[in-house]
């Protein structure tokens, strides 16, 4: 039986890769969809309103001066603004009047690398888009085409790891044969895991997000039991409430900003199978799974990037 499971898993992974090579990014796009684009001359604080009003956490930027696509606005940009403000509390006026085309200066001022937004043509194989996306830190990849007449860039859409895995979970029946326990696949991030506790100042957690290059920080109690998670996207609510200038706030207090439609933190154990993980991705809006032991102690994290990397490149 063990041999069977191994063989089925390997054949299923190969079949999913074949599927990803047979489809294009264009195939992932719905027949009708919305694409929200922000002019780079918009104020950062106005762009926050637009993201929250449309229930999105990222948007492509359009530079109308050069008539070109100008990268993606993501939660990392807002984290940079908070860190800049924390190091320069006297610069409130500048932060308040900051435009989207000023975010590059903020990156330079706090010494972080710009998010390299690779892009790809919508008609390239989906497998290729996934590989390119893994090379970039943002976990998303813009699909860029050119206007036939004017050769100007068109931002067709932005693909995310979440949407690609959901597309696989919805269209690849083979995901049901991924029956090996995730603890055996060597895909759980469990080394050097960063965490904090409920009374940690939220600014320390935000700095941890940047320095560790992660998009969430688990919150554990004094015995190592997982209690909650602070996510990069929670920063948008922090800024919206203007409470970023009270950065002595604990992460527990900052999490009170979360809106009631937050679905909760998904946990699993090392014994869970990728088939049930993919089934949850198919059914829910889940962006990561925190691995706990039977008692609920934090053991590691399984991100969408880990899952996609295994499907694309795993042995």
């Amino acid at each position: 039986a063990g041999e069977n499971v191994l063989l089925e898993q390997r054949l299923a992974v190969e079949s999913i890769r074949t599927f990803l090579n047979s489809k294009t990014s264009y195939d992932v796009l719905p027949v009708s969809y919305r694409l929200i684009v922000l002019d780079t001359s918009l104020l950062v604080k106005k762009s926050l309103n637009v993201l929250l009003q449309n229930n999105i956490v990222s948007a492509p930027l359009w530079d109308s001066q050069t008539s070109r696509f100008a990268g993606l606005l993501t939660s990392s940009d807002f984290i940079n603004v908070i860190q800049y403000y924390f190091s320069n509390p006297d610069k409130f006026e500048l932060v308040d009047k900051l435009q989207l085309d000023g975010l590059k200066d903020i990156e330079r001022a706090i010494g972080v690398d710009p998010l390299d937004t690779a892009s790809i043509h919508p008609s390239r194989p989906l497998y290729e888009a996934c590989i390119k996306m893994m090379e970039s830190r943002s976990g998303r990849i813009p699909l860029i085409d050119k206007d036939e007449e004017t050769r100007r860039e068109i931002v067709v859409s932005v693909l995310t790891q979440y949407r690609i895995l959901k597309f696989v979970a919805l269209n690849c029946r083979e995901t049901r044969f991924l029956k090996r326990p995730i603890g055996d696949l060597n895909i759980i991030s469990d080394q050097n895991l960063k965490s904090c506790n409920m009374t940690t100042p939220v600014i320390d957690v935000i700095q941890l997000l940047t320095h560790a290059g992660v998009s969430s920080v688990p919150i554990v109690d004094e015995n190592g039991f997982l209690v909650n998670v602070y996510e990069a996207v929670d920063v948008l609510g922090l800024i919206k409430g203007g409470i970023y200038n009270d950065l002595s706030l604990t992460v527990g207090e900052a999490l009170m900003r979360r809106s009631d439609d937050f679905e909760g933190v998904y946990t699993c154990t090392r014994n869970d199978k990728l088939s049930t993980i993919m089934d949850n991705i198919r059914k829910s809006r889940v962006h990561r799974f925190f691995v706990v032991d039977e008692a609920g102690r934090l053991m590691g994290v399984l991100t969408l990037s880990d899952i996609l990397k295994y499907i694309l490149l795993g042995t």
Partner: protein
């Protein structure tokens, strides 16, 4: 061209464009 009321001094315009066989509602937010 579709427009929505100006809020927070921000203009929002949109147009629905056919992209190959799909339909994209491209929405641009710009400062007033």
């Amino acid at each position: 061209l579709a427009t929505s009321s100006i809020k927070h001094n921000t203009l929002c315009v949109a147009s629905i464009v056919r992209y190959k066989r799909k339909y994209v509602t491209q929405i641009l937010y710009a400062p007033l």
